[in-house]
């Protein structure tokens, strides 16, 4: 297979301070589809054009932040192989039984040197995107309920030892480096963007002293005009916008960063070039770190390197 092994970001479990308020926010402002609760009370959501049962799980907790981020792989065989490869690489894994998340098969979980829990899984029930598999229309009314992203796109995680996380993703899981920001020493990276596909990133990391932090979870929009619409809807709902609409230098994607009611940052993202593993990674230097992150302003805002959840 050409597109094999790890397929895509499959789900994120996030911690929220007020579950009811957060459910309202993710359902009605972000415009994800409410897919129900499990016995623990966790709330499940999917983006309208995703076909698997869910991609976002919210858990009531005392602090905001991320519990884990997961990738779907193409088969049980791949799951077993990657588990073995991770172990051989010195990464401990454990199996989470099927059904621990609704409609989801067995998951292989491991902790990155950055302090983040990552999961792999091969099965999640396909519930469809609300359109027939036969002679479908181009979109459904769900595509205009709230911001209505198409998909969970990626996340940006903050923690130490990002080069060790990179090694696991590239040496074991088949990702490749697409872009990176190099510190003044000319060798250490401040930030890395990694892809398992032809998307400009499926996951990204920024070096940070505290482990296990979430900078943002990103949702995919179809066009720059949908980015404007997202900003309008944020304003109408008094969402706290961090920055945007603007463009990233890295990936060239257009973006808004904003905060959910718990202080978890999310992104509504569009575009990003198609890339392939035979492409030389793009390097950004610290004198242009501003343009790397916020291409129009060419300077970071205070929050980019400091505010995480």
């Amino acid at each position: 297979m050409a597109m094999t092994g790890v397929l895509r970001p499959g789900h994120i479990q996030m911690k929220v301070l007020d579950l009811a308020e957060s459910i309202d926010f993710y359902a009605n402002v972000i415009g994800l589809q409410d897919m129900g609760r499990d016995a623990q009370g966790r709330a499940y959501f999917k983006a309208w054009d995703e076909r698997d049962h869910h991609s976002v799980i919210l858990r009531q907790a005392d602090t905001a932040g991320i519990d884990f981020f997961a990738f779907k792989v193409d088969s049980d065989a791949t799951l077993a192989r990657l588990e073995k490869d991770l172990n051989a690489y010195g990464v401990a894994t454990r199996r989470i039984p099927a059904g621990e998340l609704l409609e989801t098969g067995e998951r292989v979980r491991f902790t990155l040197p950055t302090g983040h829990d990552i999961e792999l899984y091969a099965h999640k029930t396909s519930v469809g995107n609300g359109m027939s598999d036969v002679n479908p229309e181009a979109w459904t009314p769900a595509a205009e309920k709230g911001i209505a992203p198409i998909r969970l796109d990626h996340c940006l995680l903050y923690g130490p030892d990002i080069e060790k996380a990179q090694a696991i993703f590239t040496d074991v899981l088949g990702f490749y480096l697409v872009e990176h920001i190099q510190l003044e020493d000319g060798k250490t990276d401040l930030a890395i963007w990694l892809s398992a596909s032809i998307k400009a990133h499926d996951i990204a990391f920024v070096r940070h002293p505290e482990p296990g932090k979430l900078h943002h979870v990103s949702f995919l929009l179809e066009s720059w005009e949908k980015v404007l619409r997202a900003a309008d809807i944020m304003s109408m709902n008094r969402v706290s916008i961090d920055i945007g609409p603007t463009r990233h230098g890295v990936t060239r994607g257009t973006t808004i960063y904003a905060f959910d009611p718990n202080g978890n940052r999310f992104e509504t993202f569009c575009g990003g070039y198609q890339c392939y593993p035979d492409q030389k990674p793009i390097k950004w230097t610290m004198d242009e770190v501003g343009a790397a992150v916020f291409y129009h302003d060419r300077k970071l805002n205070d929050r980019f390197l400091s505010v995480v959840s």
Copy 2:
């Protein structure tokens, strides 16, 4: 690797009736970058954001049409493996020596049951996209010279025995079926769309009695507004538009079909959803074939099934 084996459409060689006129057209109307001529007089072009040396080759001939369509693979090892797998599958291959195309390594060529020559290759000189690999800008003036597509995206080929071509792509080369149009018999396909990546298609076929025919070569644009700009530029240059701007039902992409001065149809295409191999293929039935191809009009024009080169 997650993105492995066959990476992407790498080049198409097309036959043109008047090379000088065609060079002018592809350089100034389509807005590809002229990458020079070889000893045979063939003309080489690349889209502005492609990094490899070329993606379109024009050859002076007595008829229009396609000579071959090629995919880049990720390594020499993959090239050797796929060659062996093709042979084991009963597909004869032959090696074209490195350098036969400018800046291109050895190619493995085989003929599909549809009558088309397909090539695989692992090496082509990276010449970059005109922007630095360090702290690049978001785009260059080349992005606005002519229609200025970002990339060669895919091609649609017409010929017999498309199910046999499909088998080679899916069983040997790692592609998967994304969408198909089924004939009234409920089992035979009129058309198939195949992906090697997360693009909605990297190659497609329509069943047709004559072998080896080209319906269109497709170039990728960034937005629906760029599709409008492409249509405007076509009008300014008196390009014969077949249909569009419109949307396809298949892939949901937006599109214009038009003809180069030789009668080769080309497409300026935008969008198409992201898809993955775990997604159930979408099926279209003949009563909705119109909507499958031209979503807005919901009917085929006379030329779609009859005019090929």
Copy 3:
């Protein structure tokens, strides 16, 4: 006043063959707001961003077509002055009493040499656009219900003696000629586009043997992406599209022509340049009439000159 006298197209009354079906179509597909019925059973609609009570009136009849098209003027004084000026110009007028149309003041009606009834009026109840006059949001959910045009924009009428209609509009009502298509004789116009404001047209005429015909009523959209969305919604609702999405050469606006269930053509239109009365009119000649109307295809379809209601 700089913007004085005739302000804008205020309403159109159209004949429909099946009122219930037409109400459903204009409310749910076009996405106009249902403003109620009068004692005669006529159905009233407004576009979401219009503030006056209605702009479209549907009347059950045995044939499709237009009853009258009306312009709002800035005051009773203007209404009286224009009535007097029309009479002095040889145009007979009659007063329709206030309240004959819901929430509408007295109207001055006259018949053009083209056979169309035109009305002027100074008063219609302002019902607002659904947003507060104090600290409003940028748009409301009504902006995404159906195609949801912003406004009634203009209409294109077919009939004889268009130069006489032009004279009334320019000599008496303060309109100016923006563009015209001249017949091969180099003096007679096939078509004229007239503005009372800085819009590229508020009304237009095509020379046609039958009097009193409606080519299309046009609704304003905000962007080319909204034009795509309109085409998608037309497809989802199996609306018969005449042509588009495309661009007009005249006005440069982007457009779709489609038919309501009665065979009345309507347009979803975006853009058109800003123009002013000091601008020399643009002339199109018959060898480029195709580009004048359908800029991309540069040829008329069969229906443009023949299908009217």
Copy 4:
């Protein structure tokens, strides 16, 4: 005439600190067309789709800022009438002879209570927009040289006594109030937006202790995607962006504010609703002044009320 008297903003003369640098900036970054120099050394520019000879004049000076802002009127008779009306209203005027500005007729100049010089004129040579008046194309290559605005759109001026300026514009010149921001006292306005046409504003004022200040001159773009392109070009040219891309609450237009090399703020603006003089003005209150100006962030940045030239 429906569109009569004052037609539109016709020109602005701005002071620049380094004329050569500024000429390069307005020609190559903003993308205005260089229309030559006069005997005083002033540099003249027009936007590509404007037909009159120029709309921007740059004058070398020791400080940045505005010399005067001018409106074109429809005739000599109007010019004479408005001059007389201004005088009758207590506004002193003086005539600037024809030819003092290149290709421009006699101008009537007066000083507003806000300290700004405003001019009216009836004649400026029409040089066309680079396209034929017969069978034109939809746009020219000039539409893609630099940011390439279509037109000078409006300006926002800072000074005292804005209600007195408003009175002159509405009582004498035929403008009407479209939106205003009211101070906490519920009667005094902080800011007013005035239109002479159906544009959401042709000129605007903010109350400010220092007279004669320029907040920004605004150039019209065609689409939100062109706003993105403008931001990209600003970044590529290291233009200092004040804010944007974003949307205004007032007018709903999309926008970028940025600074020319002299510190004169300019805007690249798109949209704004169509309005008419019969529309009730929209009022903003000080608790929502943030949303009025920057709709997405819903808060002013430090510079909006303090940085002027």
